[in-house]
């Protein structure tokens, strides 16, 4: 079966000559449908850069990123934006919720932006799975870190993307909440048949994944 995400010889360098930084140095990875892959690396290993390229947020110097058979960077900027909106779900470390919208509105925003009808039953099911059904009208400023991240998770799941990319999703949470959020993320992703690539610097969290890729100096080892 075709992998849902594939990178071929990805390269991203910054600067040139002696001061050149090889952020991503000839990296090729594959992720199959339904997998939970953790990408572990220390600060500066290139993991965030990798994730940004996987999500089409940053263009590589050379190499390809192929999601669901589509070469991301062969698309025009506008097409890429549409593709990203439909096919990729993001979960960031600092939640990125819209402060003026309440929990429900934040969750269904990407669906609405795409002009699609919101399947209320499906979205409510997700909300119940993450345990936020009694705070739907709350504004992000009244939520705890864990609750904000759950909302972000629901938002990423609701539009049923082909792949979810999470960049240190538990970085701003305390260690107990961290574990909870990752366990919840893992079971939701499995329940809804999604694929998840998660960046983390913490091996304790990475152990929940099906597969761990270690990234060091822009290269994936192991």
């Amino acid at each position: 079966m075709q992998p849902i995400l594939e990178t071929i010889d990805l390269v991203k360098y910054y600067g040139d000559g002696d001061s050149q930084i090889k952020a991503i140095d000839h990296t090729s990875i594959t992720v199959s449908h339904g997998e939970f892959v953790a990408v572990v690396g220390r600060s500066g290993s290139g993991k965030s850069t990798l994730l940004h390229m996987l999500g089409g947020l940053d263009r590589p110097d050379s190499g390809q990123v192929i999601i669901s058979g589509q070469d991301l960077f062969s698309l025009q900027d506008e097409q890429l934006a549409v593709f990203r909106r439909r096919k990729i779900g993001f979960i960031f470390q600092d939640f990125n919720l819209i402060p003026a919208l309440n929990v429900w509105e934040n969750i269904v925003l990407p669906i609405g932006l795409d002009g699609k009808r919101v399947n209320k039953d499906y979205v409510m099911d997700i909300i119940q799975s993450i345990g936020m059904e009694d705070r739907l009208k709350a504004l992000p400023s009244t939520l705890s870190g864990g609750q904000k991240q759950r909302t972000a998770i629901a938002r990423a799941l609701a539009s049923r993307p082909a792949i979810i990319l999470a960049d240190e999703p538990t970085g701003n949470l305390d260690s107990h909440t961290e574990m909870e959020v990752v366990a919840m993320l893992k079971s939701c992703v499995a329940k809804y048949g999604q694929t998840l690539v998660m960046i983390t610097h913490d091996e304790t969290i990475a152990q929940m994944a099906d597969r761990t890729l270690i990234i060091e100096d822009g290269k994936v080892v192991g």
């Binding site: 345990g131 574990m179 079971s187 152990q207 994944a209 761990t212």
Partner: protein, 363 residues
């Protein structure tokens, strides 16, 4: 029926969407009638006759063309969807390039949904294949595990039958043989549990039950072994709660964790059990003061048949099945298990059970 009648019948059925044609005729009829009525009311306006007739004809024609073109577009769309669905049904579906799906509109949305259905079908197929491979691998693993103790037992018995062996040596081989049989027994018990769980022969039956009772059950299973090594098991006080779980298998799982803790802890140390309710899960933590686990090994210890490489681990008996079983039991109840670093030395195994049980979690 005569030849021409049959031919006509075949021809009409070939066109396929007869009801679309009927719709076309209906719309054409209604819209033409509407235009006619409109022009009827226009009569008293006193337009020159030729101008009036021309306008009427153009209106009718334009309407006719418009209806027909709409019909044609719908027909093509339906045909495409039907072809796709048929391909899915017969299993000949192939993923098509996504370029069209980047547009908006009903057509591209339908296409996208069909892509998803196609992918879901492929996923099921892949899951079935994986399950088959999994079973094959397990059979190989199990027979491999059994070979060693059986060989050792065979050797002991062979040596027993050797006439040149002294009485004292015979006793030793007898003892060795007995130990191997014990090992085999223990191994078989674990393997039977494992294979039954994998083959879905054991159905976890979660029901609302008190957590304290389950924990007590788990501790009872390991109490004697702990006593032998003078290891103290301390359960931190907590208010009992009723949560949905399978008491028997959850106790078994926690027992497995405690078994590991006792195995790899020095005599005289303490094993503490803590229960902490969080937002969506109940955390059950077992902390020991033993040899600990390297962070880099956290991923591996839950793999089936994995045994640590350290000499302390290799010296102990075990099939590497324990933690794998534990994770499986908790995952099937919608929870999970992980290892977290301890404050000083030792290991903390954190088990999580969901507060709200959902039947779909049993994957």
């Amino acid at each position: 029926m005569d030849g021409r009648g049959v031919e006509k019948m075949i021809k009409t059925q070939e066109r396929g969407y007869i009801w679309l044609e009927q719709e076309l005729r209906k719309y054409l009829g209604i819209s033409t009638a509407g235009i006619a009525v409109f022009f009827l009311f226009l009569l008293p306006a006193g337009l020159p006759l030729s101008y009036y007739a021309a306008l009427f004809a153009v209106a009718i024609l334009a309407n006719g063309i418009w209806c027909y073109l709409t019909y044609r577009r719908k027909y093509r769309d339906y045909l495409e969807i039907s072809d796709c669905l048929e391909a899915l049904e017969t299993g000949s579906y192939r993923q098509k390039p996504e370029a069209d799906a980047l547009k908006t509109g009903i057509r591209s949305q339908m296409q996208e949904q069909m892509e998803r259905v196609g992918r879901a079908a492929e996923v099921y197929k892949k899951q079935l294949e994986e399950e088959k491979e999994n079973t094959k691998a397990m059979i190989t693993d199990i027979s491999h595990q059994l070979k060693t103790p059986v060989a050792a037992l065979g050797l002991s018995l062979e040596l027993l039958g050797d006439a040149q062996v002294t009485e004292a040596e015979k006793q030793e081989f007898l003892e060795r043989g007995k130990r191997e049989v014990e090992k085999l027994n223990h191994l078989m018990g674990t393997l039977v549990n494992l294979s039954r769980l994998e083959a879905d022969m054991i159905r976890l039956e979660p029901r609302k039950a008190g957590l304290k009772a389950t924990l007590v059950r788990a501790v009872n299973g390991i109490y004697l072994k702990a006593e032998e090594k003078k290891i103290e098991i301390e359960m931190k006080e907590f208010s009992d709660m009723e949560i949905v779980h399978d008491p028997r298998w959850t106790a078994e799982a926690i027992s497995n964790v405690l078994d590991n803790s006792v195995k790899y802890s020095p005599g005289g140390s303490t094993i503490s059990i803590r229960v902490e309710p969080m937002v969506s899960y109940i955390f059950i933590e077992v902390e020991d003061e033993g040899i600990g686990i390297e962070k880099s090994e956290y991923q591996n210890i839950f793999k089936r048949f994995y045994r640590g490489k350290r000499p302390e681990v290799e010296g102990q008996e075990g099939a590497g099945v324990g933690l794998y079983l534990v994770r499986k039991i908790f995952e099937e109840q919608g929870g999970n298990v992980c290892a977290v670093p301890a404050h000083r030395r030792g290991t903390v195994i954190r088990m999580m059970l969901p507060k709200k049980y959902s039947a779909e979690f049993a994957v």
